[in-house]
């Protein structure tokens, strides 16, 4: 028998409990099964782009179920895509730099810009079924959560120590074995943490995707997002609050039922030589580990599946050891590479041609408006960053320096951050209308709502990482408060602050689409800005404007990353790194 977790199990007194756990696990499995059946029936039904949204409480569980199913599917899709993309990029040095650059650009594009092409393509591909529209929406959510996963997997692969790879090669691991025993475990922790961020991003996108107009076509799918949107549209504050409450409940439940157990479980993949003292614990995981069913069944199934694969792979001659080349490129892939390059080149030319053809309807006035919008959004994003930094630095440092406070605040803030800011937008907007503030400044507040958390977390982590002996030195030599901040705290948190700001800046650009243009109580609120341009262009079906605005956004974001953030990052890594 295989003893998987000897240390966890010895602590547990065996009683009749496990039977109950098995029962619960089995019931969960049954629920998932019926859920799938229900979903399939709905998807294969006829196409109904506009589903009437009921505001009754009784409809909520079903809506929540639909939304969760969408996010889950989009997430699974993202995971598969991220792993394939990262894997391909890491092992094909010729295209590696290109693939990373493409990822960088795609990451800077707001979700809404993907909307028209994705939805139109899906509806056209699967006509007559609800599945087409649903897939379109799922793909949109996918674009909101896939990129950081891909980055994470790719960089994990690149960071695998050389001797581990050599061990895998000298013992003739097949690609299959290497993937499951070396690459996936090594990337697991990064993937788990990025999954949390991704799913939060999925919720953010959900508010946008379940209900939208595109030119003369309306789309409204049953789900929490459209429930809240339509509640906001009709000014039904009670329904709106209930919707928000349900979202928060789901987020908290996900955190407790999925993420915490996953984090605790992934602890065993930590690449460390000694066991660390502080570990995340999860009662749910402990509980699940007590289930005899879960302890034996997956392992048995897995090895049943796995063994034939290994013995077949071993029989194939390809598992022979191939020396790798460090200096001379192998000539094998050359033809394939050039063919690939040619296809990409032709596709790119075609795309540019199409785009140019499309853009011919854009007038100079449009262009001027876009550039003005870009300037306005640029200022707004940076204002939001500045304001976040101004309040989060003192608060974060206070929390970070006070471990007891940190222990109390951190889990709470973590949950707060995964509650999608877009859920609170309608409330804020209703407030804005009531008190007569314009969206010009209001949108900054909306951006803040989504982005400040990243900075806060990083500042807390940074403050906690400042060694206590350095703090003691500053006390011993009676540093003035000014000295303390400029010579100890700010340099100490600098790398973390930069990490937080980079993430927040990307998030703020993406949020601009929602923050600058909203429909509440039947009115459309908007202000000058690139995000507003994209939103209104989607509403009116003006694709050239969307295209141009998207290009502008990704140009600004990518060049900001290259020119400003990357430099600061390098500075953080060299000069402000706290070593030893």
């Amino acid at each position: 028998m295989r003893i998987q977790h000897p240390f966890a199990r010895t602590l547990i007194t065996v009683r009749t409990w496990p039977v109950v756990i098995d029962l619960v696990v089995a019931l969960c499995g049954l629920a998932v099964f019926f859920g799938i059946i229900h979903m399939a029936r709905y998807w294969w039904g006829t196409e109904t782009p506009v589903v009437p949204i009921s505001h009754s409480l009784r409809a909520l569980p079903l809506y929540a179920f639909y939304s969760i199913a969408r996010i889950t599917l989009a997430y699974l899709l993202s995971l598969v895509f991220a792993i394939s993309y990262g894997y391909f990029a890491a092992y094909h040095p010729r295209v590696e730099a290109w693939m990373v650059a493409v990822l960088d650009i795609l990451q800077s594009i707001p979700v809404l810009s993907f909307l028209p092409p994705v939805v139109l393509a899906m509806v056209a591909l699967i006509p007559g079924h609800q599945l087409g529209i649903e897939l379109g929406v799922i793909l949109l959510i996918f674009t909101g959560q896939v990129w950081n996963l891909a980055f994470s997997f790719y960089s994990s692969l690149k960071a695998i120590p050389r001797e581990m790879l050599e061990a895998a090669r000298i013992y003739r691991y097949s690609a299959w074995q290497r993937f499951w025993q070396l690459e996936m475990p090594y990337a697991a922790i990064g993937l788990v943490w990025n999954s949390i961020v991704s799913v939060a991003g999925g919720w953010f996108a959900l508010m946008l995707c379940e209900m939208f107009t595109m030119g003369d076509r309306n789309f409204r799918l049953p789900g929490l997002g459209s429930y809240m949107q339509s509640a906001a549209d009709s000014g039904d504050l009670d329904s709106l609050l209930i919707g928000i409450l349900v979202v928060i409940l789901i987020v908290v439940a996900t955190d407790q039922l999925v993420w915490r157990p996953l984090i605790a479980w992934s602890d065993k993949f930590k690449f460390e030589q000694v066991e660390s003292a502080d570990r995340v614990t999860s009662p749910i995981l402990e509980w699940l580990r007590r289930s005899p069913l879960l302890n034996s069944l997956p392992g048995t199934i897995w090895s049943r599946l796995e063994e034939p694969i290994y013995s077949r792979l071993a029989r194939r001659a390809e598992t022979r050891l191939h020396p790798y080349d460090e200096d001379a490129d192998s000539r094998k892939g050359v033809i394939g590479f050039w063919a690939f390059l040619a296809v990409v080149g032709i596709a790119a030319c075609w795309a540019v041609f199409q785009a140019a053809y499309m853009l011919r309807t854009v007038t100079w006035a449009d262009l001027r408006l876009l550039l003005e919008g870009a300037a306005a959004t640029f200022l707004r994003v940076n204002a939001a960053l500045l304001i976040s930094a101004l309040w989060t630095i003192p608060v974060g440092v206070t929390i970070g320096f006070n471990p007891r406070l940190a222990r109390f605040v951190q889990p709470f803030a973590q949950v707060m951050a995964s509650v999608p800011a877009s859920a609170f937008y309608p409330i804020l907007l209703i407030g804005l209308i009531r008190f007569g503030g314009g969206l010009g400044f209001g949108s900054i507040a909306l951006m803040l709502l989504g982005t400040q958390w990243y900075i806060l977390f990083n500042v807390i982590a940074g403050a906690m990482s400042i060694p206590s002996d350095l703090r003691e030195v500053s006390e011993l030599y009676r540093f003035t408060p000014f000295q303390r901040w400029t010579q100890l705290i700010l340099p100490g948190i600098f790398p973390y602050l930069i990490t937080g700001m980079v993430t927040a800046s990307g998030g703020a650009w993406n949020a601009s689409v929602m923050a600058e243009y909203s429909k509440v109580k039947g009115e459309t609120l908007q202000t000058i800005g690139l995000g507003a341009q994209i939103s209104s262009a989607t509403d009116h079906g003006r694709f050239p404007i969307i295209l141009l605005a998207t290009v502008l956004i990704s140009l600004i974001v990518v060049s900001m990353n290259r020119l400003v953030w990357r430099r600061l990052y390098r500075l953080a890594e060299t000069r402000f790194k706290l070593e030893g």
């Binding site: 050599e166 003739r172 691991y173 074995q177 460090e326």
Partner: protein
């Protein structure tokens, strides 16, 4: 025809050898059309029944050699044969024990040992049985369900051995397997390895050990190959005839250790091999090059060594020096070489003796030491001299680091360039030859000297 005949000849002579390398070399192409030669063309054979130790200072390409012989890395030129067959086409059965252990931390000890068998398609029951037996052999009975991070370094390396031996390799490669362990643990593991080997409990025909520990080589090996560096080449290849078990204090043992020290410290008269010119590209032989290779030693270490030497009467055996300091050759050699480069000491026949300049340096107080170091460095180290001159001639008295990196690039690999620059900066800062602004990556003239230089400019 001729080629075919040569092929047959190779196969015949390789009949006995498990692995045979023919004129294998390694070089890295540089952007500047130059090549950095890491290993000069080398012939080498691994034959059944012996432990072969490859010994050399850092930078002699020991690990690169191991990777070429084990088939992990392809030589830039030359061939490696496995039982007479080119190694890339043969079904090779080797294992490597790594310096860092390279165990998979998310797998239990047993799973780690089982994994290579799984790769070979061995059935689960047999896999388990063989792995447990091997764990028993290396003394890890009862630890099978532990995770590597719960074990001590020595225990972890035992897992590394078990994993390597469980596939019953014909050749067991070991890449400095004991150097990450503390002295006692390493000693314990060494003797256990010898026991396994001599009692034939391990199913291995030959062992190839890479090490920079001279005593370890003499203790374990039946044959020792000493590598020289820049580029890596064989300096000597000899059999160790002392019967096992060997006594570290026995005269024959000490003699052999002393002999290896002598070989390692003796300057080489001629390049071991004429650089190969066949590919048309220029191959730089680093011994004929403009910049000396700076040994990566700190000024403090140099001063400490000279003071110790002075205490011992100004002359000592390198081997005894290393023993006193409990240094391995990789720790001691850079310091000795640096002192030699600066003209502070001389090496002859494995002995080091302090020069008058060195004596003066060792006897001076701190500020005077800096001055002496500065004079010696400016006189003997071309790179430092160039940096200094460039700083004095430029009107703003500052030069970017990149400028000199570009010049070093002609001669050294990228990593080595960085290391050379780091050493030069350490020496230059200590001797106040220049100051280095790390955030702007620029050399600057120290203030006092700047004023001086400015004054001399005015008078000119």
């Amino acid at each position: 025809m001729l080629e075919a005949a040569a092929q047959i000849e190779v196969q015949r002579s390789a009949g006995k050898a498990i692995i045979q390398a023919e004129k294998i070399e390694k070089y890295y192409a540089q952007p500047s059309e130059n090549r950095i030669q890491v290993i000069a063309p080398t012939d080498l054979k691994i034959v059944p029944g012996e432990i072969l130790a490859l010994l050399g200072p850092s930078g002699s390409g020991k690990s690169t050699m191991l990777r070429m012989l084990s088939g992990l890395s392809r030589p830039s030129a030359g061939h490696v044969y496995w039982h007479g067959q080119p190694i890339s086409q043969a079904r090779v059965n080797v294992s490597i024990v790594f310096q860092s252990f390279a165990l998979f931390p998310w797998m239990t000890v047993l799973e780690n040992v089982e994994a290579p068998l799984q790769a070979r398609g061995v059935a689960p029951e047999e896999r388990r049985e063989r792995s447990l037996r091997m764990l028993d052999t290396v003394g890890l009975d009862g630890f099978q369900s532990a995770y590597p991070k719960e074990l001590s370094g020595g225990m972890r390396q035992r897992v590394g051995f078990a994993r390597a031996l469980v596939v019953e390799p014909e050749v067991l490669f070991m890449d400095e397997p004991f150097s990450a362990l503390d002295v006692l643990t390493a000693e314990n593991l060494r003797s256990e390895l010898l026991e396994l080997w001599s009692k034939k409990t391990m199913p291995t025909q030959a062992v190839f050990l890479v090490t920079h520990n001279i005593e370890e080589a003499v203790l374990l090996a039946d044959r020792i190959i000493v590598l020289g560096r820049n580029p890596g080449h064989i300096r000597t290849d000899f059999r160790v005839e002392i019967p096992q078990p060997r006594d570290r204090k026995a005269p024959a043992f000490l003699q052999l250790v002393d002999y290896i020290y002598k070989v390692l410290t003796k300057p080489e008269e001629a390049p071991a091999q004429v650089p190969d010119q066949q590919a048309g590209r220029r191959v730089r032989d680093q011994r004929q090059m403009k910049y000396q290779m700076l040994p990566h030693a700190r000024p403090g270490g140099i001063a400490g060594l000279l003071e110790l030497l002075l205490d011992k009467g100004g002359r000592d055996d390198i081997y005894r020096l290393a023993d006193d300091l409990a240094f391995e050759i990789d720790d001691l050699f850079p310091i000795v070489e640096a002192a030699q480069l600066l003209g502070f000491l001389k090496i002859e026949e494995g002995d080091v003796s302090i020069t008058p300049a060195g004596e003066q340096f060792a006897n001076s107080e701190i500020l005077r030491q800096k001055e002496l170091f500065r004079d010696a460095a400016l006189e003997n180290v071309l790179l430092l001299r160039q940096i200094r001159r460039a700083l004095e001639t430029k009107s703003n008295h500052t030069v970017p680091e990149e400028f000199f990196l570009d010049m070093l690039d002609e001669q050294f690999s990228e990593d080595e360039c960085q290391r050379q620059m780091e050493t030069a900066i350490t020496w230059g800062r200590y001797a106040e030859i220049f100051d280095f602004d790390a955030s702007r990556r620029r050399f600057v003239l120290p203030e006092a000297q700047e004023e001086e230089a400015a004054a001399s400019e005015e008078t000119e």
